[in-house]
């Protein structure tokens, strides 16, 4: 699939886009994706959006405790997903990347198992919702502390470099993450070593309530790449194809040993920061409405429709098909049942040490004394 990449200019003043708001192809190179691939990208955009909507419903029903809405980020996430080799390359995502892990094919039953912390969760219910991870797909398990995954991502990239097989790492984060010391430590190290890594920033202009101008004096994120000796690209994150093509180019460069890159994807978060947030306290409704008009899903749909690759019937069919898949996945995740209490003592170390065994035993006795189960 990966053919000769078109060349994008780093540090461009305007974001790179390849399709216009009205869905015309505007890039100076030819589209080289077949119809099925284009429809597959569209499917992943819709999948991400519908998962988001489902999670909000599950949260309102009290079935999950937390949602980090990804609506508005789908173009960036799906663009990234299609630009890597799944199962070969490594991903270091962050908590807003549900759409990304779904797009690379993480089974939906596991995804919802994680969200509901049932036994369908491969991480055994250890983490709060929106913290996926998959050993099989080389997706590093998400940690809440912002930017703490950046230096580890660089370490994985350095070992890929040592292994010399041309594998790469993609590390994603929000704009706020670029203020943390860990972010700078990691990006600097990657630059110094020429590590095969792409840092992909989903810049939605807010870190909870703090807007970009209070986050940094740089004006944007791509500019920061200058300081670390790597190219920085600004991309229209509402244009999934632009995200895909820029990512494809920098991933190919990293594979060939040309070193790291930073890609800033200009997106917007349509929902609140999380189910615990009230975004009306800090951003005007008109701003949200204006970005809604730039919806990445509608944009690709217009593009497909111009090429007669999509229409109302296909849309309806897709949405009901995905809804059915989500029903099934949620049902399966729920049917797996809750985690056992005692498993909380496992996985601290390779072997259960004596002191934890004592704590577990004592806890069992206390439960028995209180007439509780188990």
């Amino acid at each position: 699939m990966i053919t000769d990449s078109p060349r994008f200019e780093p540090f461009s003043p305007d974001p790179h886009a390849v399709i216009s708001e009205s869905g015309e192809w505007i890039a100076p190179f030819d589209l080289d994706l077949d119809d099925d691939t284009l429809r597959g990208m569209y499917r992943n955009l819709v999948l991400a959006r519908l998962i988001d909507e489902r999670l909000v419903r599950l949260q309102r029903l009290g079935k999950t405790s937390f949602v980090a809405p990804g609506a508005g980020h789908e173009g960036a996430q799906v663009g990234i997903a299609h630009a890597i080799e799944i199962g070969r390359d490594w991903l270091y995502p962050y908590y807003r990347d549900t759409g990304l892990v779904a797009a690379i094919g993480w089974p939906l039953e596991k995804l919802f198992g994680q969200m509901l912390a049932t036994r369908a969760d491969p991480a055994r219910g250890r983490q709060m919702p929106a913290h996926p991870g998959s050993r099989a797909l080389n997706v590093f398990t998400v940690a809440s502390p912002i930017a703490s995954h950046v230096p580890p991502a660089v370490g994985t990239a350095l070992s890929q470099k040592i292994a010399g097989k041309g594998d790469v790492t993609v590390c994603t984060f929000g704009d706020g993450a670029t203020s943390e010391g860990d972010w700078h430590a990691g990006v600097n190290f990657a630059g110094a070593q020429g590590a095969p890594i792409v840092f992909a920033c989903e810049n939605n202009r807010y870190a909870i309530s703090v807007d970009l101008n209070h986050q940094t004096g740089s004006g944007g994120i791509a500019a920061k790449a200058h300081a670390y000796g790597m190219p920085g690209y600004l991309v229209d994150g509402m244009d999934v194809l632009a995200c895909y093509y820029v990512m494809r180019e920098v991933v190919a460069n990293a594979r060939e040993g040309l070193g790291p890159a930073l890609v800033e994807m200009a997106v917007y978060r349509y929902g609140p920061h999380s189910s615990a947030d009230d975004d009306s306290r800090y951003r005007p409704a008109e701003e949200v409405a204006a970005w809604r008009l730039r919806d990445p899903i509608a944009r690709l749909r217009r593009f497909l429709e111009r090429r007669s690759l999509w229409g109302d019937e296909a849309e309806e069919g897709l949405r009901s098909e995905i809804a059915g898949e989500l029903d099934e996945a949620v049902a399966a995740a729920e049917a797996a049942g809750p985690q056992d209490v005692d498993t909380l003592f496992e996985d601290v170390f390779a072997e259960l040490p004596a002191h934890l065994e004592r704590q577990r035993e004592r806890y069992r006795l206390a439960r028995r004394a209180a007439g509780e189960d188990g």
Partner: protein, 325 residues
């Protein structure tokens, strides 16, 4: 008298102190327009503007480090770390700079500042929104550590911390933020002494010692014991460094039986220090070995959120053990 929740009292006390002393500034993530993610700084931005209520970039090192620099230059910063779990990117600033500043400069520099942070579990937040990191701080000479459990204590200890001359880590039990309302003083100078605990309940059969979020379960356990005719003395330490040795030793010597409750992990828990001190000082007054009821030595789990906490049943089990000894 105002009747307020814990978190409302924090906001009101900050407001009053900022009015009284224009050297006080507040800085942290989302503390401005948003009023803090828990609304602990609600109203401050409108009242004092962006010079005194600073929405910072997402960097705890910048927040805590800048607070130190402000403090040595004459301001009285109150830094907010959004969750105590996120103090670690700023830990170096607290441990290497703030804590040692007075000592390493022979007293020529010092940093009067407060670092506030919501702590504790029971909110379905997983390990990065639930931890109790107080051991790290009490183990760092040069930091004062407070972990109040009630609105009134929050008011008095926060004001004392803000008026003090040393860096204070101010832990707030987030699961009690809105759990109770109580009357808080209208006196804008209401303070509570450094290092003093408080007796929440008096009894002759056993002493229960706790602090912070676990006070809720400890007080509930005492009530459950009273139903069985067992009267517990209940001590809320409030200040963890320095902690109230005098109160603890006096009450435990009188009763002879003690259970210590803390939801931080067991190993090197502050209550282990309290228990060791009891053993060293008044062993001959004890009728039974001190028993600790703590969080487990595991990361804080998500699925077993409540199970991790030293709940009422675990406390009662420990009490039974010291009574039957």
């Amino acid at each position: 008298m105002a009747v307020q929740t814990f978190v409302q009292t924090v906001a009101r006390t900050l407001m009053q102190e900022m009015r009284r002393d224009d050297r006080v500034v507040v800085l942290g993530q989302d503390v401005g327009k948003r009023g803090g993610v828990f609304l602990a700084t609600e109203g401050l931005f409108d009242a004092f503007g962006p010079d005194r209520v600073i929405d910072t970039p997402l960097s705890e090192a910048a927040i805590i480090g800048a607070a130190i620099g402000m403090a040595v230059h004459g301001l009285r910063p109150v830094a907010e770390v959004q969750f105590s779990d996120y103090v670690f990117p700023g830990f170096d600033q607290l441990v290497s700079q703030a804590a040692k500043l007075r000592y390493r400069s022979g007293g020529s520099f010092h940093a009067p500042m407060v670092v506030r942070m919501p702590a504790g579990g029971g909110v379905k937040g997983g390990h990065h929104h639930s931890q109790n990191p107080e051991t790290h701080f009490v183990h760092t000479p040069g930091l004062q550590v407070v972990y109040p459990s009630t609105p009134r204590d929050a008011q008095g200890t926060l004001r004392t911390a803000m008026r003090g001359e040393d860096p204070v880590v101010f832990l707030e039990p987030k699961r009690l933020y809105r759990a109770v309302k109580e009357e808080v003083s209208d006196d804008p100078d209401a303070t509570l002494p450094v290092g003093k605990g408080v007796l929440r309940r008096e009894g002759d059969d056993v002493v229960l010692i706790s602090y912070g979020a676990s006070m809720a379960e400890t007080v509930q356990a005492a009530a459950a014991l009273a139903q069985q005719g067992i009267e517990a003395d209940v001590i809320d330490l409030r200040w963890l460094l320095p902690w109230d040795e005098e109160l603890v030793l006096e009450r435990v010597a009188r009763v002879g039986r003690v259970v210590l409750v803390s939801e931080a992990p067991r190993t090197a828990n502050l209550v282990s220090e309290v228990a060791a001190t009891i053993a060293e000082e008044i062993l001959d007054m004890l009728e039974a070995p001190p028993v600790r009821v703590t969080g487990f030595d595991t990361p804080y789990p998500y699925a077993q959120d409540r199970a991790y906490l030293p709940g009422v049943n675990r406390i009662l089990y420990a009490v039974q053990q010291v009574l039957e000894y």
